[in-house]
């Protein structure tokens, strides 16, 4: 029979050893994981602009296609401009900007910055806007690529931490994302966003159908979260867009 003291000692020692092992593994693997996250982010950004990248060529394609990275403040002024590998003004990296922190500042009514990435091919610009929001079980994120009129959607990508597989997690599938193509973010010059509609876009009035996509059956909360994320992130760009028109 084991004494209570033995049991306590056993449990404590075990927990300390396990904690030490896990934290050293986490520290050791962190650089590799961070690099993977960075490449994955690049892939997401490229994919929204319909550029298919693999893990191997993501960095190369990113550097080739994303010609400009801009940081904008909430008044629509350019804070930092990074063109062809050089800072033209400011020194904030739009790619590295932590959207989570900036959106938190927004929710607290503070000044915040937002990133805007520009891909240029054959003289036409594609604007890519990173997105971040709150899903059912954890964070959701994504990118939306707009034509140079800042309204027509070229493509989107979404990712999630832990939405329900088969239901909410469907937001990261092609089938869901392809619906966004050619939808409009602005309606007669007014910000409208693109909504994920429960029951399908068919229930919307005809003139609104261009601003909606079908929701996922069984994934209503995640679908709503996507609408919310799009509206919350895209509206920040309205002052900038109005200025540049």
């Amino acid at each position: 029979m084991y004494s209570n003291f033995y049991i306590f000692r056993y449990a404590s020692v075990m927990v300390i050893i396990v904690a030490a092992i896990l934290s050293s593994a986490a520290m050791f693997l962190k650089p590799l994981q961070d690099e993977n996250f960075r490449i994955d982010k690049m892939k997401g950004i490229l994919a929204s602009a319909n550029i298919e990248a693999t893990t191997e060529n993501a960095i190369e394609l990113y550097n080739k296609n994303i010609t400009q990275e801009i940081v904008i403040n909430n008044k629509g002024e350019v804070v930092s401009d990074f063109v062809d590998g050089k800072f033209v003004s400011g020194d904030l990296s739009a790619f590295k900007l932590d959207l989570k922190k900036e959106l938190y500042k927004k929710s607290k009514g503070l000044d915040y910055n937002i990133p805007l990435l520009v891909a240029e091919s054959n003289g036409t610009k594609t604007y890519i806007i990173p997105l971040r929001g709150v899903g059912l079980w954890g964070p959701i994120w994504g990118n939306i690529a707009l034509q140079d009129n800042f309204s027509t959607v070229i493509g989107v990508t979404f990712g999630h931490k832990g939405e329900t597989p088969g239901l909410g997690a469907e937001i990261d599938t092609k089938n869901f994302q392809v619906q966004f193509v050619n939808k409009e973010v602005f309606k007669d010059g007014k910000f409208q966003s693109v909504k994920v509609v429960k029951g399908g876009v068919a229930i919307l009035p005809t003139d609104m159908q261009i601003h909606g996509v079908d929701a996922i059956s069984g994934g209503t909360i995640t679908s709503d979260a996507v609408s919310e994320m799009l509206a919350n992130c895209l509206e920040n760009y309205v002052p900038f867009i109005n200025k540049s028109k």
């Binding site: 084991y2 049991i7 593994a25 986490a26 693997l29 994981q33 088969g166």
Partner: protein
């Protein structure tokens, strides 16, 4: 007392049984009906199924050895918690390693890697085998059960991917065979979780009709 036992060959008949029995007669999925949840969750494609099988193998084999080494010191009153801590620690390690080295697959497996913790095969083997046997035997038992789990997973995934997506290991097999020209279509139903259970059911059926000793006597 264990003089004789220690001289036992590494792959004696008894030890080989530990490795081979779980493949068929004591299969964790088809006979003991454990680990069904993950069997239906990760088998839409062969690749994640394969990685899942490998991950479970790592956790089960290493975990069995750890528990077996500790078995004489583990206070029985907290043994389940000790087992859980070992499983959880190993699963977190596996998850971290996947994230670092095979990120794409880790993304596909997402929550399921975490769910290895709840895979009852692992807890079952710790409790039923590793707590009462020496490390080497426990290691073999862990490997054997993981193989038993893994081959079912891969067979199920093979059929689901082939018939559901027309691919094998993401290679478009059906396209190469040219069956689409004859009007063949992928069966989307195969992608859905219920089909995993139906395929597992078919495997159980085949297995039991071939080996009548597996059929329970009423």
């Amino acid at each position: 007392m264990s003089d004789k036992k220690e001289k036992e060959a590494l792959f004696s008949v008894k030890n080989r049984k530990l490795l081979i029995n779980p493949l068929h007669k004591e299969n964790p999925i088809t006979i003991q009906v454990l680990g069904i949840c993950s069997a239906l969750a990760v088998t839409a494609k062969v690749k994640p199924a394969f990685v899942m099988a490998l991950s479970v193998m790592a956790v089960l084999a290493i975990g069995n050895v750890i528990i077996s080494i500790l078995r004489n010191g583990i206070p029985p009153r907290i043994r389940i918690i000790v087992q859980l801590v070992v499983i959880a620690a190993l699963v977190i390690l596996v998850d971290q390693v996947l994230k670092a080295y095979v990120f794409d697959i880790s993304k596909q497996l997402s929550v399921f890697v975490g769910l290895i913790i709840t895979n009852c095969i692992i807890m079952g083997r710790f409790e039923a085998f590793a707590m009462a046997n020496r490390p080497w035997e426990s290691f073999l038992d862990g490997l054997g059960n993981a193989f038993g789990y893994g081959w079912i997973l891969i067979v199920v995934a093979f059929f689901r991917e082939l018939l559901g997506s027309g691919t094998f290991w993401d290679i478009p097999v059906m396209e190469y065979l040219g069956v689409y020209d004859f009007g063949y279509k992928n069966n989307g139903f195969m992608i859905l979780p219920p089909m995993a259970l139906i395929i597992v059911g078919v495997i159980i059926w085949v297995q039991r009709s071939k080996d009548k000793t597996l059929v329970e006597q009423k």
